[in-house]
């Protein structure tokens, strides 16, 4: 049996240090170059240099925050200008009073127009099913009472009345609309439903 050469046994004997000695210079060079490169890249390729697409425009990231600040400042300035303009409306005291009185008035005219527009929307070439012979309005109770009759030769007067009430409830000038009774009566013109509907207006804002 032949013994192993001395050189082959030496590293095992010496342990970890010779490995570090061998790796020392390459590790140092790699580490330094790596550090220098990353530091250089960090300074050269900052996020602010990159453009971004915002609302169809290409803008540098650094300019984006500046643009936002500029717009915000302009918005504040314009709001200030507008407040000054609103204050200057004191120069028109009668106009201001007119607007105030207008806001207090109940929209009875526009509501009646809407009621009429809705009523006539049920009209066909042969029949005009909704008749409103009774109208009462009182500004103290803020209510408009409609008394009338829905007549339909095909027997659908209840359905027409329900649709009419539904339409009244969509009016923006109205606060509440009462639910009428649906009682059909036989008339020479066909099935007919009399109704009384109370419309209440919202409090002035």
């Amino acid at each position: 049996m032949t013994s192993l050469p001395e050189a082959a046994v030496a590293p095992t004997k010496a342990g970890f240090l010779p490995v570090l000695e061998r790796l020392g210079l390459p590790t140092f060079l790699f580490g330094i170059v790596f550090l220098l490169l990353t530091t250089g890249v960090t300074f050269l390729l900052t996020p602010d240099r990159f453009p971004v697409h915002v609302g169809g425009k290409v803008i540098r990231l650094a300019d984006l925050a500046a643009e936002e600040q500029r717009l915000q400042d302009e918005l504040d300035q314009l709001n200030q200008n507008r407040e000054e303009l609103v204050k200057s409306q004191d120069n028109a005291p009668i106009l201001s009073q007119v607007y105030a009185r207008r806001a207090e008035m109940l929209p009875i005219g526009t509501t009646l127009l809407s009621v009429e527009s809705l009523r006539s929307s049920f009209r066909t070439t042969t029949i005009d099913p909704i008749a409103i012979p009774g109208v009462t309005f009182d500004s103290v109770t803020r209510s408009l009472v409609l008394r009338g009759r829905v007549t339909d030769p095909t027997g659908g007067s209840n359905h027409i009345l329900a649709s009419f009430v539904d339409g009244l409830r969509t009016l923006t000038t109205v606060s509440t609309v009462s639910e009428p009774e649906y009682i059909q009566e036989q008339t020479p013109e066909g099935m007919s439903t009399p109704f009384t509907i109370t419309i209440r207006f919202a409090d002035a804002t």
């Binding site: 009073q97 007119v98 009875i108």
Partner: protein, 280 residues
């Protein structure tokens, strides 16, 4: 000799550790750089989302302030004079109210082939003082259809309105301008001019006026905007004021005075309308 060799070995070991330290430092620099990118990206997304809306708000407010400044400079004093003379007078409101109701009933009579008529018009002799304003009670008796009376009262409800923007429901003006500002900021000026237009001029040819105001807006948005305006109050202006606008202009019965409807009752074709004439 041995000492030099030892020093050389120590130096190499030190270089190894310095190299390792440099690698760790470089990794730290990369991690920090990546974090900065991530933070900046989040900021960019945040700003990028809010920036177009901010731009629209600025354009919108700029045009509004410009229009209001122009109005304040040129038209407000004239409107103030009109309001003082015709809408909310300091003297008796009766002459102007009678003229308005008379001309409105004549216009309605013409359009209904004589089926509508103003029967009587009476006013109380005593004016009630409400502090901020005075009210003179009156009663109008008229004969006609529900539609005709609705039209007449519809015109009275326009009383006090002088510009298109006055006839719009609260919030509609802002909604209208915001929609245009988002779609086509260059069309904002025409939209503002439209809002400050005399309401009677609009009632005389509403389609033409709307067409001119919305000419700079995209075809897709135009029907939505027209719908918005009609539902926002201009449909009532077209229905009520449209048929009588020509006569009101001819007879110089514009603007309509502040007349509030206090009561309404119907017996057959006769309508009894309680009125309150407002004055300073």
């Amino acid at each position: 000799m041995l000492r030099n060799a030892l020093r050389h070995r120590h130096c190499l070991v030190s270089l190894f550790f310095v190299g390792v330290l440099s690698i760790i430092l470089a990794c730290g620099v990369i991690a920090s750089h990546v974090r900065t990118f991530s933070v900046k990206r989040d900021t960019a997304v945040l700003i990028g989302t809010s920036l177009p809306e901010l731009r629209t708000s600025v354009a919108l407010l700029r045009s509004t302030v410009e229009a209001e400044t122009l109005f304040a400079r040129q038209a407000r004093s004239a409107r103030e004079e009109q309001a003082a003379a015709y809408i909310f007078p300091s003297g008796s409101p009766v002459p102007r109210a009678v003229l308005t109701l008379e001309q409105l009933s004549l216009a309605l009579r013409d359009s209904t082939n004589g089926q509508f008529s103003l029967g009587s018009l009476t006013f109380s002799s005593k004016t009630e003082n409400k502090g901020t304003h005075k009210i003179l009670d009156g009663t109008a008796v008229m004969r006609g259809s529900f539609q005709d009376v609705a039209r007449l009262l519809g015109v009275l409800s326009i009383g006090g309105d002088m510009m298109v923007r006055d006839a719009l429901a609260p919030g509609v003006e802002e909604q209208f301008l915001r929609a245009i500002g988002t779609d086509q900021p260059l069309a904002l000026r025409a939209a503002q001019d439209f809002l400050y237009l005399d309401l009677l001029e609009y009632a005389l040819s509403p389609d033409l006026v709307e067409q001119g105001a919305l000419s700079g807006v995209s075809d897709a948005l135009r029907p939505t905007l027209r719908q918005m305006l009609l539902q926002g109050g201009l449909a009532e202006v077209r229905t009520a004021l449209g048929p009588v606008a020509e006569r009101l202009k001819e007879r110089n019965v514009w603007p309509i005075p502040l007349i509030q409807v206090t009561s309404l009752s119907r017996e057959g074709s006769e309508f009894r309308v309680g009125l309150g004439l407002l004055s300073r």
